[in-house]
Structure formats: C-alpha cells, structure tokens
Amino acid sequence: MNPVYYLYLAALLFTIGGAGVLIRRNAIVVFMCIELMLNACNLAFVTFSRMHGNLDGQIIAFFTMVVAAAEVVVGLAIIVSIFRTRHTASVDDASLMKL
C-alpha cells in the first residue's frame, strides 16, 4: 500500500468537515467540524513528514494542535457568552452585522 492514501483520507475528512461547517447551524457542532478539518490537516502533515523523512511535518502538526487548543478555548468562551445573552447557540441568529 502506498502511504499516499493517507493524503486522500485527509482530503476526504477535510472536505467532510468543510461541508459540516456550511450545513450545521449549531455553533458547537460547527466548531467540531473545524476541529475535524484541523485534524485532517494534521494527518496530511504527519504523512508528509514520513514522505520527506524528517520531523518538520510533525512539528507543524504539533503547533497546529496548540493553536487549535487556544482557538477552542476562545471559541467556546464566545459561544458561552453568546448563549448567555441570546439563549441560543445557532450561528444564524447572530446575524446583526449586516446592512
């Protein structure tokens, strides 16, 4: 088996995550889909690391995880504070920033 299949899997997972972002209205689920996309990227990075025979790809994946953790913390805080004031977690309801 050629390890390039991992890349196909990553592309597939990334696309599924993207579609989820577009389709789901629940902000928490949207966030999960973003996590899915990040994970797909990480898989690609790890595969690339194996392909090139060095550890730089894994480092990038590692940093992605750190950044994702920071993002999740802030994002979930935003969701909680929106829920407190508006009693909803739907991204469609937060649509005041329009003309």
């Binding site: 972002v21 577009l22 991204v91 469609d92 649509s95 005041l96 329009k98 003309l99």
Partner: protein
C-alpha cells in the same frame, strides 16, 4: 546720494500710513501732514536732480539695492531702485504736480468731512506712482502698477455715497485688471525667456531672443499700457473716472497715472525696437486713440468729460510717438511732461469753475465767466493756448515734434500717421476752443438768483498760476538746444528722423489746421448763442456723446457674450459634468445596493463564499502547475 531714493517713496508712504491709520485725531491737521510729505518728497527729488545735473550724462544713473525680496532657486526678485534721467523726469513731474495738487486740494476739499482720508489716498498714490517709476525690475514695477490702480479706485469712488461714483470706480478697476493681466503675463514670459525681469539684463539681451517671443512680450506690454493709459480698446473707464474729485482727475487721470503706459513702453524701448510688429501695433493704437478721444471730446457738454476725452487724445499722441521708436521716445516724454503741466492746470481750472458754480459741470449752464473769476480765466486760457499748440507755448513745441516724427516714419505709413496727427491737432483746436468759449465767453446761461460765481481762494489759485507758468515756458525751455532730448538720450537713445516734409512745412501745416479748428469753433459757438439744452445733433455727435458707443459695444459684445457663454457653461456643467458625476454616484449607489445583498449577516453564507474562494485558489494553483 543713492540712499535718498528710497526716501522718495518712503515719505508719501509714511504720510499715507499716518493719515489712514491715525484716526480722527488727525482730522484737523491731516491736509497739512499730507501736503508736507508730498512737498518733502519733491524736495528730495529736487536735491537728487541737482546732484544729477552735476554729473556727466553717462554717469547720472543711480542704483539702490534695498533687500532681496524673493530669492528662490533661480528666481530672484529684489527691492531695488534705479534713478536715471527718465525716472528723474517722472519723479519731478509726479512730486511737483502732486505737491501743487495737494495744496490745491486743501482749498477744494475744505468742506469735505473725510478730507484726511482723501489726503491719505493721495499720499498712497504718490508712493505707488514713485515706486512704479523708480523700480529697477518689472516685478517691483508691477507692485507700483497695482498700487496706483488701487489708489485710483479709492479716489474715483471717494464719494462712494453716489452710486455713479461707486460704479465708475468699479468699472475703472475692472477694465484696469485686463491690462494688469497683460503685464503679469508679460513678466512671466520675460522670466521664462530671459530668466530674470530686471530692466538691465532684460533690455540688454533682446538682440539674442526670438522675434516671436519679443512680439508677444511687446503686445502684452501694450495691453497693459492700454489699460492704464485708457487707450483703445480699454479706454472706456476714463470718462466715468471723472466722477472722482477734480484734483484727482487732475493728478491721476490727466498728469501722472494715465501716463504710466507711456513710461512702460518707453522703458521697454529695447523690446519694441527689436519687435517691429509690436511697434506697429503701438503706433496704430496711439493713432486711433488720438482721433477717438478728440472726437469724444468735441461732443461732451460736461467740462470734465470733455477734458477727459482730450486727455485720451493727448496720450494717444504720446503712445504713437513712443511707437515710432528712437525718433519718438524723447518727444513722447516731452509731450508727457508739458501735457502734465497744462492738462493739470486745465483740470484745476475746471475745478475752480465748478467750485464757484455750485459743482455744476454742464458747460451749457456756464457762459461769460471771465469777469467773475479772472485768475481762473487767465490760467485756464494759458493752458488752452498751450494744448492747442499756440506758437511759443509748451504744447506747440512738443506736439509739433511728434507730428514731425510721425511724418518721419516714412512711406505711406508716415503720411497716414502724420495726417492723423494733423487732423487730431485740428480737432483739438476745435474742442478746446469750444470749451473755452462755452465757459468764459458768451452770455450768462446761469440763474443769477441761485448761482454766485466767485474767484477761488489763494490756496487754489496759486497752484494754478504755477502750472500755467509751467505750461507757458516748459516747452521752450526743453526745446532750446534740444535740452530735453539730450537729457534723455543716454536712457532712451535718440535718432533724428528724416521727414519728407521740412520742419517749416510741418509747422506751417500745423498752424493752418490750428486756425481752421479755432475758426470753425468760433463760427459755431462764438458768433451764435449757445443753446442751454443740447440740440439733438448729427449721428456722429450723438454717437460721440455716448463715447462713440464704446460702452454699448462692450455691453453687446463682452457683457452679453459673457452672459451667453456663462449660460452655456452652466448648462454644460449641469448636464455633462454634473451628469457624469451624479451618474457615477447613482451607478455606484445602485451597484452597492445590489452588492450589499451579499452581506446577509449569516456567517454560513460567508463561509460558503470563503470555500468558493479557496476552491478557486486551489484550482488556479493546480492549473499553474499543470501548464
């Protein structure tokens, strides 16, 4: 000595500042202060003149550099004065006649509440005029040029409570702007051509410059001269300028300011000598104006307007002479000086008559005044004899020389110019005799119950006597030994013209036309009684009364034309310019109205757009790699 030059300008300037800023505290002494500064300026001028006479002709020119005004890169404007023979002549004329008229005004304006202000303006005028003739470069000359325009505006409109005076002031100012524009463009052109606008370098390098440039500069300078000196086609303001007080008419609109154009052309003689086309235009303007002014002067019943027409005509003589080149410059200036004497005297006489006649200006309401104001009669009469060129008086010498020089121009041109000058002399004799007869001779046409003609006070008559003496003797003094020509020669250069007619023949012809003109006037106004209301008159008379339709022409061509042009421009502005601008705005507005629909506020719509963009980027990247 040259350090005194700045004082010439400074004295009246200080006087003006003192009088205009001093407030009503100076009301009682204002006229004495103003006159004092004018006389002081004359005294300095006289001292400089005495000093100048003591030097050899080549070393007479003085130069004073005050400070660098605008030094920017290659552009350098200095406040520097140059006092040569030409400037000296003007300085003496301006300060001399100016001082006399200051003194005269003490009496003439005695009953005016705003006399202090009047003297302030007069001093301001003196300062500006002296700056004009003393400047050593065109830019500083321009400052003086605008300064005299301002003073002229203020003084014409001095009686601003009269709508006619206010309008006349505005008219004079606006018409002068046209000429001033010519001068400013000429200065810019000089700078681009010569890289400087100081008299010395500009006039010295005319030989190495293209004919076209010089012609353009010359024509622009002529335009400036036309505006300031009331020459055709910018002559229309001078008649209305008579709305100002009579001393103003005498000083500014007869003796000094209106001759600034002649000064400009004479000063720029080197430019005109090198540009024959411009010179031809100068001659044409002078010849046309001398006839134009004379005809207008014949028809006016207002004594000051008749004299204004005469002024226009006499300046036409000077401009024509200046246009003749080296054979005419000296005579132009000579006529300018003698004219300064006799025309100022005539105006002061007219002022004296008005003073005694309750400010009546219509000559048809005068008549037989010689018994009531003998001093005025005698001085006015001497001025009259001088202007018509009576043998032995100053006008005879100066005008005769100009006619001679006109013939000396040579060829058909010479004959036409000489003929025009002779015809002008005849008409001059006619209208001046008419003025004389209608004012001082014949029966009384005024109501003795209401008007009590009387002689003016001494403070007014003494300047008139001095000016009359000048108009009698100046010409002879200048002509003996060709004094004046030799005096000016280092500045203006001089060449003897070769007239096809001998000097005697020209003089005889002048005498003949003089007698014809006086005779016709005598036949029309001396033998028959003058009607108190003007008869309808011939077509030419009526046209001349209306200043030969100059205002009508201006109105139809310039005002109406301007209005139509403006309307067209407004229409174009509305439909084309505004249409384009508003159309763009409306298009943008409509477009944004549609575009903002994309801003739905739904974050998922934005996400779709982002994904679309990302897809396009990936596709583009793949395509680029695939190629």
């Amino acid at each position: 000595m040259e350090n005194l030059i700045a004082l010439l300008v400074a004295a009246p300037l200080v006087g003006a500042a003192l009088l205009l800023c001093g407030g009503s505290r100076l009301d009682r002494a204002g006229h004495w202060i103003g006159s004092l500064f004018a006389v002081a300026s004359f005294a300095i001028g006289a001292a400089l003149f005495a000093d100048m006479l003591g030097k050899s002709p080549e070393h007479r020119a003085l130069h004073q550099h005050l400070y660098s005004w605008i030094p920017v890169g290659g552009f350098r404007a200095d406040v520097a004065f140059q006092l040569d023979q030409l400037s000296m002549t003007f300085v003496l004329l301006i300060t001399g006649v100016g001082s006399l008229i200051h003194i005269y005004s003490i009496g003439y304006m005695a009953h005016d509440d705003r006399r202090r202000r009047f003297f302030g303006y007069l001093n301001l005028f003196l300062a500006a005029m002296l700056l004009l003739v003393l400047a050593d470069n065109y830019l500083l000359l321009y400052v003086g040029w605008e300064g005299v325009g301002l003073a002229s505006y203020l003084l014409i409109g001095f009686w601003q409570h009269k709508p006619s005076a206010a309008t006349a002031a505005k008219k004079a100012f606006l018409v002068n702007r046209v000429g001033d524009m010519g001068l400013s463009i000429a200065i810019m052109l000089m700078f681009t051509t010569f890289g400087t606008f100081a008299f010395g370098p500009v006039l010295a390098s005319t030989g190495a410059t293209s004919q076209g440039r010089l012609t353009a500069i010359g024509l622009l300078l002529l335009l400036a001269a036309c505006g300031k000196s009331a020459q055709v086609p910018l002559q229309s303001w001078l008649g209305d300028a008579m709305e100002g007080p009579t001393p103003v008419s005498a000083l500014i609109h007869a003796a000094t300011m209106v001759t600034a154009g002649v000064y400009l052309i004479t000063r720029s003689g080197a430019v005109f000598n090198a540009a024959p086309d411009a010179q031809a235009a100068v001659v044409a303007v002078g010849a046309v104006t001398l006839l134009f002014g004379a005809i207008v002067g014949c028809a006016k019943d207002d004594i000051k307007k008749a004299l204004a027409g005469s002024t226009m005509s006499q300046i036409g003589y000077m401009i024509m002479a200046a246009g003749l080149g080296p054979i005419g410059y000296a005579f132009a200036i000579m006529h300018l000086v003698t004219h300064g004497f006799f025309k100022a005297g005539l105006f002061l006489g007219a002022g004296s008559v008005m003073h005694g006649m309750n400010d009546e200006v219509d000559m048809r309401r005068y008549g037989g005044l010689r018994r009531y104001m003998p001093v005025t009669f005698v001085t006015f009469g001497l001025g009259y004899l001088a202007i018509i060129g009576f043998p032995g008086l100053s006008g005879f010498f100066s005008k005769d020389k100009i006619i001679e020089a006109a013939f000396a121009k040579g060829g058909t041109e010479g004959w036409i110019l000489g003929g025009a000058a002779l015809l002008g002399a005849a008409i001059t004799a006619f209208y001046m005799t008419r003025v004389m007869l209608m004012t001082f001779f014949g029966e009384k046409r005024w109501d003795p119950e209401e008007v009590h003609p009387h002689e003016s006070p001494k403070v007014m008559t003494i300047p008139m006597i001095v000016l009359a003496l000048g108009s009698v003797f100046a010409g002879a003094l200048f002509s003996v030994n060709e004094n004046f020509v030799r005096w000016l020669e280092p500045v203006t250069s001089f060449a003897h013209g070769h007239s096809p007619l001998s000097a005697t023949a020209v003089t005889s012809a002048t005498m003949v036309v003089l007698i014809i003109g006086v005779g016709i006037a005598w036949a029309m106004y001396g033998r028959r009684p003058v009607p108190a209301t003007a008869p309808r008159g011939s077509l030419l008379t009526r046209a001349a009364r209306r200043d030969l339709l100059q205002d009508d022409f201006n109105h139809v061509v310039l005002v109406r034309g301007g209005e139509h042009l403006t309307r067209t421009l407004v229409y174009l502005d509305h439909s084309v310019v505004d249409g384009a601008v508003n159309g763009t705005a409306a298009t943008m507005g409509g477009l944004s109205g549609r575009l903002r629909q994309l801003q739905s506020g739904f974050v998922r719509s934005y996400a779709v757009q982002m994904l679309g963009g990302a897809a396009v980027l990936v596709a583009a990247t793949l395509l680029m790699r695939g190629v």
